[in-house]
């Protein structure tokens, strides 16, 4: 084997009440990444489809993690990574995490799975640092583990892979720009203890619902009275879209990452498609272009789909 191809999917971080701690892996969209072993300690990152990527690997979301990883290897081999970028940056569904996590999963495969998933996440976080200035694992963890992951603690990093609920996900990506920095800046520094208690009650309920496979409990727990009321003002139509999606049968949902995408969880594909229709109607009415995806929670995460 000289190379492999990895499907590196999108992800939803900030799972409603689980701001900064809960995320899930999507089945689609996914970047495709080709990996090839080089016989010298070099790292080459290429874009397959003209999408402009920084050529310097240290400035590239896929490259920075591999630079860190290569520090742990003897200086004899290198890698060429060709990225078919399918997940739009700035969408809020983990475009940079897909590249970073996909990169470490692919190279690790070529190395005979030398590193643990925890180590892969540590490497991949260097990609998030390149992308946003912050080494966070909210999107990387679900892409590496699949399913839903809990980040109990950032320092020290403590990631708990939960389970992968059999739920369908509908996503709408309205074509507006929400800068992560702005989405961070508008958050209040302090929250009322009362709201915080309701929030951690819901986080407990959501984790319990996932582990007990209780979809109704998952739905009841998908409430966020701290982040969503503030951030949703950056997304036109958010409140109406959400209410109408739930009326159409979705268990619940909210802002994906820091937006502008909105995600909804549903128990059946039929409901997930009805929810898509609701999203399309609403953003058409608002005169805002959009992409929609109907997919499901990805049990496996970033995955080697071919060897060559």
């Amino acid at each position: 084997m000289n190379g492999c191809t990895v499907a590196a999917p999108g992800s939803v971080a900030n799972l409603v009440c689980g701001f900064d701690v809960l995320g899930l892996c999507l089945s689609a969209p996914a970047d495709l990444m080709d990996f090839r072993i080089l016989d010298e300690p070099k790292l080459i990152i290429k874009s397959a489809d003209g999408y402009p990527l920084p050529e310097n690997p240290a400035e590239n979301t896929a490259g920075a993690p591999i630079i860190e990883m290569m520090k742990e290897l003897d200086n004899t081999i290198g890698f060429e990574i060709t990225i078919h970028k399918k997940i739009k940056p700035g969408s809020g569904i983990g475009s940079s995490a897909a590249s970073a996590a996909g990169a470490v999963v692919g190279v690790n495969h070529l190395l005979g799975n030398k590193f643990t998933k925890e180590q892969l996440i540590e490497f991949a976080m260097f990609g998030e640092k390149v992308a946003s200035g912050v080494k966070h694992a909210d999107n990387i963890a679900p892409v590496v583990y699949g399913g839903v992951t809990l980040i109990r603690s950032v320092a020290p990093l403590d990631i708990i892979p939960l389970k992968s609920p059999n739920l369908h996900v509908t996503i709408v990506h309205p074509q507006i720009e929400v800068r992560t920095a702005d989405a961070r800046a508008i958050l209040r520094r302090d929250v009322s203890l009362k709201s915080a208690i309701r929030q951690w009650g819901n986080v407990g309920g959501l984790v319990a619902g996932i582990l007990m496979e209780d979809n109704a409990l998952i739905g009841r727990s998908l409430q966020d009275e701290i982040i969503e009321p503030v951030r949703s003002i950056l997304i036109p139509g958010f409140k109406d879209v959400k209410l109408k999606c739930i009326a159409a049968g979705a268990l619940g949902g909210g802002i994906s990452g820091s937006g502008p995408s909105i995600f909804m969880l549903s128990e059946t594909e039929e409901i997930a498609k009805n929810v898509e229709k609701v999203m399309q109607d609403e953003f058409t009415k608002l005169g805002i272009d959009y992409y929609t995806y109907v997919t499901f929670i990805n049990k496996e995460g970033a995955k080697v789909i071919n060897e060559f």
Copy 2:
């Protein structure tokens, strides 16, 4: 059957990070309560051991819930309840909840389990209102269900019985007074978003640890940086006791309810007894009288132990 006896155990509310949402049921200490059916719609509450109880059932923690329950019955029968009070009021281990939950469990048994556990909790909360002015279910829920319970939401009431970890509990009740009202009053109204996020990460971790039977995760998640730093100043020696108990092998622990009792969870009875020794030494050194208990998490909750 004309009557029965119920063992109504203590409980630990405010399970470290799970302030206001997580509680567990203890195996000991427990109140003993005798129930007898009367052939007229009357309610009599008696103290078996000279412990002064309000004679008016409406002002009594065990009486108020039964008054509510009797509103749902036809007006033909009544009950006499004799309470052997073993759990000291003001200890922070759910003395009033034991009486309230024990009362509804006993009367419900005499009624052929007419009411669901959820209904029993709703009735029993009237007892907490008598005791503290607030209808809360933090202690009642674990006593009615057994094990560990999550109160996801108070309005509407949404209680999730989790599991009963096979863990031992050591409790020290220092003989000092911490008034619940004072313990409430010193809490800050606002908390930083950063702390709140760490707290709900730990709540997620604690719920996951319980449901995944991962004791190490339970231990890592038993952290509270919001309530404990404030309330522990009301309990002399708290910080030292906690550190030394963990050094002695406890997974973790904290203030039980609003104090002054301190609880610690351990994986073995041997560790739980070593932890007791640490607690005894510390409070002896401080010149503060105390009671200690070495017990375990109670899977069954309040339980009928005799019929007559």
